[in-house]
């Protein structure tokens, strides 16, 4: 459905989107995730033909979109977009929803019926005559969704559709999105910084960083096996340790990290530079006196910092290099952790995700 081939978009010296190639099959749901300012919005605007690429090609349903405004309008009318902060047009709610149909010169009777249906779909029946300027944020977001869907687009683009929304509106919008994808086969591309939402809605996630697609694939793959240190950090890996492979026993890989060595599972070869990524919640803290557990890696060190977050505690330990562990607040209290206390940090070899330095260049997304 959507085929981006080396698309870039620059504004003066600033490159918002760089050399993005992305193929989105018909009927799929793709979530663009990434930190704010990473180019997700620009990418969506390119997909909606609101911007022209400064380089590369964008094929929509096999047709090059680089043609005249007339041709682009015809394609744009097969796409709908819900903006991050949808604005009401200065008319009624019904008028807002009907706008796209009016632009398409749909007969009045049909407009009325489709407008009513679209409002019903987002649970706002009966609001048609209200002034759109009086809507709450959540209602406006739903109206914007109805306004987009009423045109029966083949592709629906959504920029952070539930940012700053309460859970109830979020659930409702996600349900509508899932439904139109399933029942009408609408291809959906949404941007989000919420991994959970990406996982809930999308078959494919594309991680966008600094205008590039760093990695794309199934949510679980991105979550567990980020391809770059940056991706790993965005995916929640708090401990990123630079080192090099010094020893191999089958899959087991010994990595030299400054003063210490750790064991991980990876296919990196001896002498290769790697980044070892460990989630804070995969680290276990044991008092220095206690016996060694089953984990392969045990690092002795001293607590340098304890930060409490609700029912969790984030404990930073200096083991020659700092590592951070996430434990429950209760266990932190029971074990009477305090700064300066000697302690052991343990983790399994399988908890270490190894990124080979050679792989750092972002892969071509599929």
């Amino acid at each position: 459905m959507i085929d981006l081939q080396g698309v870039s978009r620059t504004y003066g010296a600033h490159a918002a989107v760089r050399d993005v190639s992305l193929r989105i099959p018909k009927g799929s749901v793709v979530a663009l995730i990434g930190p704010s300012g990473s180019g997700k919005t620009t990418l969506l605007r390119l997909l909606d033909l609101l911007e022209r690429p400064t380089a590369g090609r964008y094929l929509f349903d096999g047709v090059d979109t680089g043609g005249s405004e007339q041709q682009r309008l015809a394609i744009r009318r097969r796409i709908a977009m819900v903006f991050q902060k949808p604005v009401p047009l200065a008319t009624t709610v019904g008028g807002n929803v009907a706008a796209g149909l009016r632009y398409r010169k749909v007969p009045k009777e049909e407009i009325r019926a489709r407008m009513a249906a679209a409002l019903a779909m987002v649970g706002l029946s009966g609001l048609a005559d209200r002034d759109a300027a009086t809507l709450s944020g959540g209602e406006m977001q739903r109206v914007a969704l109805a306004r987009a869907l009423v045109t029966e687009p083949e592709v629906l683009l959504m920029d952070e559709p539930t940012a700053n929304l309460d859970p109830e509106n979020t659930t409702l919008i996600e349900e509508v999105v899932r439904r139109v994808n399933r029942t009408q086969g609408i291809t959906i591309v949404l941007s989000t910084h919420d991994m959970g939402q990406g996982q809930r809605l999308a078959d494919t996630l594309a991680l966008i960083m600094q205008g590039r697609v760093h990695q794309s694939g199934r949510a679980q793959d991105l979550f567990s096996y980020p391809g770059t240190p940056e991706a790993a950090r965005f995916m929640g890996f708090e401990n990123l340790l630079e080192g090099s492979v010094v020893e191999k026993q089958d899959d087991l890989t010994v990595i030299d990290i400054g003063p210490r060595r750790i064991t991980a599972v990876s296919d990196a070869g001896v002498g290769e530079g790697v980044t070892a990524c460990i989630r804070a919640e995969d680290l276990t803290l044991l008092s220095a006196r206690s016996t060694q557990g089953s984990a392969r890696n045990t690092l002795a060190g001293t607590i340098t910092r304890i930060a409490l977050h609700g029912s969790f505690a984030r404990v930073t330990v200096d083991t020659g290099f700092p590592v951070t562990a996430l434990i429950t607040r209760r266990s932190a209290e029971e074990m009477e952790f305090r700064v300066g206390q000697p302690i052991c940090v343990t983790f399994k070899a399988t908890a270490v995700h190894v990124i080979r330095r050679a792989d750092h260049s972002p892969p071509a997304a599929g």
Binding site: L50, E51, R52, S68, E69
Partner: protein, 324 residues
């Protein structure tokens, strides 16, 4: 994002102007109810048949007295025509006439009228009325000119003014009007070169650049002398601290003429009605009306009829138009 397309913009401006013209035209057709004819097309009117339009340019001092609106209705009735009068300064009125924007010109500036005729802009130059300019000033008369010959009075004002005698000032129209032309003629007759000897010779000589009424008000405020037509003076008299000081003198005579604009220079000129209007002005009955005008309001007539011997004496032509 939005395609650059300057080529489509330029025609927009053209279309805009065309629209404006078109709109204005339509406006003209709808904006004038109660008008028998639309002025945009100009069928040549006859006494019978479609109602004609006579466009007249005249000087403010003549129009503002109300004389023309007083004479107009009888003519309009008799000749089945609308007389449209625009009153402008003499200079502007003559300019309009030269451009063919009007059919008839009513002015009071003999020198320029002769030049106008010589250049071939007009036909049928006729005098139809006259009156006298007056010299007014503060009742205290600081230059002591009351009753003098106008030329002598001007010479005295100038001498005292340049000397810097306190309280001596003269306000000139300074606007190229017929009155201003008359003032310059008096300076010349008094032996002065206007641009060298009079203008910019000191604070005493004030060039107002305004209409007669405003010039009178200015003279009154400054306690200065000025030259004025009698009609305007009488109209403003109540608000002025000015007294007529000199009302006699050949040179103060102010003769009003009418000129038909030469129809050969511009097509569609309504010369027929213009000639009819001149003929109407020269009629005895009209002349009586001219002589009587203003008596009810000011207690005296503002204009004198101009016929026969007077006309010859003034070097004017008051003869009836051929075929008129």
């Amino acid at each position: 994002m939005i395609p650059m397309d300057t080529t489509r913009f330029v025609p927009v401006a053209g279309v805009a102007f065309t629209l404006l013209l078109l709109g204005a035209w339509i406006a003209g057709c709808t904006g004038t109810p109660s008008e028998g004819t639309i002025p945009l097309t100009s069928p040549r009117p006859m006494a019978e048949g479609p109602r004609g339009t006579l466009l007249m340019a005249t000087t403010t001092s003549l129009y503002d007295t109300g004389l023309l609106d007083f004479l107009r209705p009888d003519f309009e009735k008799e000749f089945n025509a609308d007389v449209r009068i625009t009153s402008q300064g003499t200079g502007k009125a003559m300019e309009l006439a030269k451009r063919g924007d009007v059919d008839i010109l009513l002015v009071h500036d003999p020198a320029r009228e002769i030049a106008f005729m010589d250049e071939g802009y007009g036909i049928n130059h006729r005098c139809f009325a006259y009156n006298y300019f007056i010299i007014v000033g503060p009742a205290s008369d600081p230059a002591v000119i009351a009753g003098m010959k106008p030329e002598d009075a001007f010479r005295k004002i100038l001498t005292e003014g340049i000397k810097g005698t306190a309280g001596i000032a003269f306000v000139s129209r300074g606007d190229g009007s017929g009155t201003h032309a008359k003032e310059q003629a008096i300076w010349k007759a008094a032996g002065f070169n206007y641009t060298v000897d009079v203008q910019k010779t000191g604070a005493w000589y004030i060039e107002a650049g305004k209409g007669m009424g405003e010039t009178l008000v200015m003279a009154s405020e400054k306690g200065a002398y000025t030259l004025t037509d009698e009609g305007t003076y009488l109209a403003f008299k109540g608000n002025l601290q000015l007294t007529p000081l000199i009302e006699q003198g050949e040179i103060l005579r102010n003769v009003y003429s009418a000129i038909t604009i030469n129809p050969d220079r511009f097509p569609n000129q309504n010369a027929t009605l213009a000639n009819q209007f001149i003929t109407y002005l020269l009629r005895d009955t009209t002349q009586q009306k001219i002589a009587s005008f203003g008596k009810d309001r000011y207690g005296k007539g503002l204009f004198s009829a101009l016929q026969g011997a007077d006309c010859v004496r003034f070097g004017c032509d008051c003869t009836a138009l051929a075929g008129g």
